[in-house]
């Protein structure tokens, strides 16, 4: 896929400027690239490496640790069905089988229309709401096969497009912090007080 768009490149430089060490921005820039393309492309990792002064191998090494960075193109919606113990006991595996059937794909693959990627996942910390499903990491609890069909229908029709943005999108609202607030930290060599003390006037409260 592509490299960062001019707008995103500008944003990337702003993000880097907030840290004393450019490398600290690795994860944020990977998110930015994934938001743009829906996944983290090799070109994007190369560009992130250029921007932060690392090698592509180092960026890949860091990014590949995180399951939520996708190294291959995925569908607009990433559907994760939990098959860990609580969900399994309450029908998670059957739900996964059902999902494979109705979507016509095996777990781990993407539908031909590029709409869905189906994955079976380890515990998503929703054991009280088993069996749990996530769509782009938004929870759907106690999902029965019928609920699942309905969920797919709503996703296809765009019913849920406001609550579930396409894969990679971090949020519907982007907060823009003022440029002179450098992430509230100084480099360790210059630190005179603990990093959790706010910068400047304490009346301003936490970082805006």
């Amino acid at each position: 896929m592509a490299r960062l768009t001019p707008d995103n490149l500008l944003l990337a430089r702003k993000i880097i400027a907030r840290f004393p060490e450019p490398r600290s921005a690795t994860i944020m820039l990977c998110h930015l690239a994934q938001e743009q393309d829906g996944y983290l492309s090799p070109e994007a990792m190369e560009q992130v490496a250029e921007l932060i002064g690392a090698t592509s191998a180092e960026v890949l090494g860091t990014a590949s640790f995180y399951e939520m960075f996708k190294m291959h193109p995925v569908g607009k919606y990433c559907v994760n069905v939990c098959t860990n113990i609580s969900c399994q006991l309450l029908g998670g595996e059957e739900l996964l089988e059902h999902a494979e059937e109705v979507m016509g794909i095996r777990s781990g693959s993407t539908t031909a229309d590029g709409m869905f990627t189906l994955e079976d996942v380890e515990c998503v910390a929703a054991c009280t709401e088993a069996p749990a499903v996530q769509v782009n990491y938004r929870y759907f609890n106690r999902v029965s096969p019928d609920d699942f069909d309905e969920l797919l229908e709503d996703l296809r029709s765009g019913e849920l497009s406001r609550t579930i943005p396409s894969h990679g999108t971090l949020g519907n609202v982007r907060q823009d912090l003022h440029g002179d607030r450098v992430a509230n930290i100084t480099s360790p060599s210059q630190q005179v007080e603990p990093a959790w003390f706010p910068n400047g006037d304490s009346d301003e409260g936490p970082a805006k």
Binding site: T55, S56, A57, V59, G61, S64, F65
Partner: protein, 813 residues
């Protein structure tokens, strides 16, 4: 484990006995020093400890009873109680090995590491013998190439982090990394971006399993079939110590030796794999003589030596001894260099002798300047003025040492040169000086008038300035380097110098007298006659440039190329061409028929690295052993044997009774610098010559023409892999030389319309070449960079020896 001096002794209890250790050193080292070796995979004394493999678990008394701790992560403190042999430790080692082997394929019978594998050895010594794992092992494609030379078998990998730590910490090329961390962790490169490091071979040497293998050695031998000897790498002048290993009279592998003052066990890939040139099918096994048809054809040694002696005698009888000239000698051992110096200066009587090819430092500087060793330059807290060529390209292990010094030991490097180099990211300050302006830029830095305030302050506040001096630009006259050295001596009287020489034994050859005006031991022609000599040249001769100039003008009857290839290596290419055409007889002594030897009348087959024994002298003045392991091909022989035979035919005796050692002994007898050689062959780290300097220094004033707004100043420098004979003959490096390019700064490229790979015409007063232009951020404005001996484009035709600088015009063709 490295030997250390115990300065802060503490007592610890090791397996019930009180022993002494250095306060703060790692427990794993303290135990080993006191006779209790702890098994380990990830720990390497030259890398930061990480505690990855858990093999070095020992029981440390915590006060609340013994607890298992990784000994590579625990600093020793007073009163510590350690048990390395308890049942608990044995059980831990069992468990760790069982886990490490859970996924290991156990393909030892087909693995190159088998027989010298730490995993295999320690599994036998400390392992449980059987595994409880019945699960399928992981499977990966085996092996995958991660660079031109190195292959990775991920199934065998135990994730010790040694190669990746080396790449990041030591080489500074973090191109391999752990990826997919978690239960699928593997070492790999970024897709399409290979581990193209100049130091990649070291990862193979430090891999504790057979995961990393190098293509030159794969499936060539078993460790127990190898014969080995310690020696010194001769691919550059750093003098890295190596173990050479051979099987069936063929060198198969070089491994770095952990020599504390020199290479710390590291080698560059050029040094590590360069031995392949010796195994090349193009090696010369017999002398060649030009026959009547004009072809070079094989002859016997007697015929070859007789005809060499007769042309030399005829030249002496004709126009006198000075009509014989000897060019080269940096490839030779100290002993061979001395034998040739004696042959040329005593027996023949000519002083037209130079072991360098106009691309080095004048003998007066190398022998005269007060010296600094590599260790002194890299001493913690030192300030280093770096004026040499790009160390990463030309002196790779010196680069690693300087890089470590800057990163870990607080050494401040101030680099002054025509371009930024591989060292620049680690230098405290990098100041660029357009060719010809180094002396004036440096003068301003040293007297405090420079605009580079920080660099200036660093240099002016240095209490004990170390200077690395060399030729960063072959298109700049060497007199400018002399002027620079002069200036530093005047402004900073206590400064000491490390000459950044390029060829292996330049220093040794200079010390042996292979330079105009010099006798062995740095004595000049005005001095006394060395013991064992009958005579010395009556008048001072010329250096490489003068010799070639004389040859071009028909004043040289016999030009002896002692392992030198002026057609490829002398910077002024047209002078070299005219000289070889103009010399009446050219005799080449070389292991290969190189470009110059192709034009010779007589080529004498010489032996190479690991085929002859002797000593070599590194750039810092360290004399180390070169040992013989294999025999030269055919009847090729050592350079000193050729000298002795020639002397014999000229009616003289070089004084060799049995072996080349007699030559070293003779030199030690009269040269103060070589006294150390009198005690027999140096072993281990070798011996240092006296490098305190000699009263030889001359000064130079060079008029540099003002820069012309329409032209750029040419920088001609070298890259690690070029089209040199030894690299081309070495199977693994033959394809690694880059394409010829001219590198420009973005500021100069834009007005020319150069945008990446435009073909341009580079024109100087003396010639022009057409070449691709690229934009390089390391090149400052006003400078054009070309590399020596790359591809077919001959940058050497642009310059003329003796011009202070070379101005070129670049136009899009």
């Amino acid at each position: 484990m490295r030997d250390i001096e115990i300065t802060e002794p503490v007592e610890i209890t090791l397996n019930g006995e009180l022993v002494t250790a250095q306060n703060g050193e790692l427990l794993i080292d303290a135990c080993e020093r006191n006779g209790s070796y702890i098994p380990r995979f990830c720990y390497h004394s030259r890398l930061t400890p990480v505690g990855m493999c858990r093999m070095c678990l020992v029981e440390v008394d915590t006060g609340r009873g013994p607890a298992l701790q990784p000994s590579c992560m625990i600093p020793v403190s007073d009163g510590m109680g350690v048990d390395t042999e308890s049942d608990g430790v044995a059980k831990a080692q069992d468990g760790v090995l069982e886990f490490l082997l859970a996924n290991h394929p156990l393909d030892c019978p087909v693995c190159d590491k088998g027989g010298e594998c730490p995993l295999q050895d320690q599994a036998y010594a400390y392992g449980p013998g059987e595994s409880r794992f019945v699960e399928e092992k992981r499977h990966n494609e085996k092996p995958i190439p991660i660079s031109e030379l190195v292959l990775l078998d991920r199934e065998r990998c135990i994730l010790c982090d040694r190669c990746t730590r080396f790449a990041d910490e030591v080489a500074g090329d973090p191109l391999i990394h752990f990826i997919h961390r978690g239960s699928h962790t593997e070492v790999n490169t970024f897709p399409g971006e290979p581990f193209a490091s100049y130091f990649s071979g070291n990862t193979v040497q430090i891999c504790p399993v057979g995961a990393l293998t190098a293509s030159p050695y794969r499936f060539k031998a078993r460790p127990w079939d190898l014969e080995e000897t310690e020696s010194t790498c001769t691919r550059c002048s750093v003098g890295c110590r190596v173990v050479v290993e051979s099987s069936r009279n063929k060198v198969l592998r070089l491994q770095g030796v952990d020599s504390d003052p020199v290479n710390w066990s590291w080698l560059c890939d050029k040094g590590r794999f360069g031995f392949q040139a010796g195994n090349s099918g193009n090696r010369l096994s017999r002398p060649l003589q030009r026959c009547e048809s004009g072809e070079l054809s094989e002859v016997g040694w007697n015929t070859a030596l007789d005809s060499a002696a007769s042309v030399i005698s005829a030249a002496i009888a004709g126009r006198g001894p000075q009509s014989v000239a000897v060019l080269g000698g940096a490839r030779l051992t100290n002993e061979s260099a001395y034998s040739w110096a004696k042959l040329a200066k005593d027996v023949i009587g000519t002083d037209n002798v130079d072991c360098q090819l106009g691309d080095g430092l004048p003998a007066e500087l190398v022998l005269g300047l007060p010296g600094a060793s590599i260790d002194e330059v890299c001493e913690p807290g030192a300030t280093v003025l770096y004026l040499g060529p790009d160390a990463k390209e030309e002196l790779p292990i010196l680069y690693l040492r300087l890089r470590h010094a800057a990163d870990f030991d607080g050494v401040k490097i101030v680099e002054v040169g025509p371009t930024l180099t591989g060292l620049s990211p680690y230098a405290a300050e990098s100041v660029t000086a357009v060719p010809g302006e180094t002396p004036s830029v440096l003068a301003a830095l040293l007297d405090g008038t420079s605009e580079h305030v920080e660099a200036s302050a660093l240099l002016r506040n240095a209490s004990d300035l170390k200077v690395v001096i060399g030729r960063a630009n072959l298109a700049e006259d060497e007199a400018i380097t002399v002027q620079t050295a002069d200036l530093i001596r005047e402004s900073v009287p206590g400064a000491t110098f490390l000459p950044a020489l390029r060829r292996a034994n330049v220093r040794g050859a200079l010390e042996a007298g292979l330079a105009p005006g010099f006798l062995p031991g740095g004595a000049t022609l005005a001095g006394t006659l060395p013991t064992g000599w009958q005579s010395m040249p009556a008048e001072r001769g010329g250096g490489a440039a003068e010799i070639l100039e004389d040859a071009a003008n028909g004043r040289v009857d016999v030009l002896i190329l002692l392992g030198s290839d002026p057609l490829r290596d002398f910077p002024d290419r047209s002078l070299a061409r005219r000289a070889l055409a103009g010399a009446k007889t050219v005799i080449s002594i070389d292991p290969f028929v190189n470009a110059s030897a192709e034009q010779a009348d007589l080529v004498l087959a010489a032996s190479m690295f690991s085929e002859s024994a002797g000593t070599t002298t590194s750039l810092e003045g360290r004399v180390t052993a070169l040992n013989q392991l294999v025999t030269p091909p055919g009847t090729a022989r050592d350079d000193w044997m050729i000298a002795v035979d020639l002397a014999d035919r000229l009616g003289a005796d070089l004084g060799v009774e049995t072996s080349a050692d007699d030559l070293a002994e003779e030199m030690a007898g009269f040269s103060d610098a070589h006294v150390v050689l009198g005690d027999g062959a140096p072993v281990g780290d070798g011996v240092m010559l006296d490098i305190s300097g000699r009263d030889l220094l001359t000064s130079a004033e060079v008029e540099v023409p003002p820069a012309n707004a329409y032209s750029l100043r040419l920088v001609l420098n070298r890259t690690m892999y070029d089209k040199g004979t030894l690299l081309e003959e070495s199977e693994s490096s033959a394809g690694l030389a880059g394409e010829s390019v001219v590198k420009l700064s973005a500021a100069d490229a834009a007005p020319l319309g150069v945008d990446g790979s435009t073909q341009v015409k580079v024109t100087s007063e003396h010639g022009s070449v057409t070449v691709a232009a690229t934009i390089d951020s390391r090149v400052p404005k006003g400078v054009a960079v070309m590399h020596h001996a790359l591809g077919d484009v001959d940058a050497g035709t642009l310059l003329v020896h003796g011009d202070p600088v070379c101005d070129v015009r670049v136009e899009v063709s």
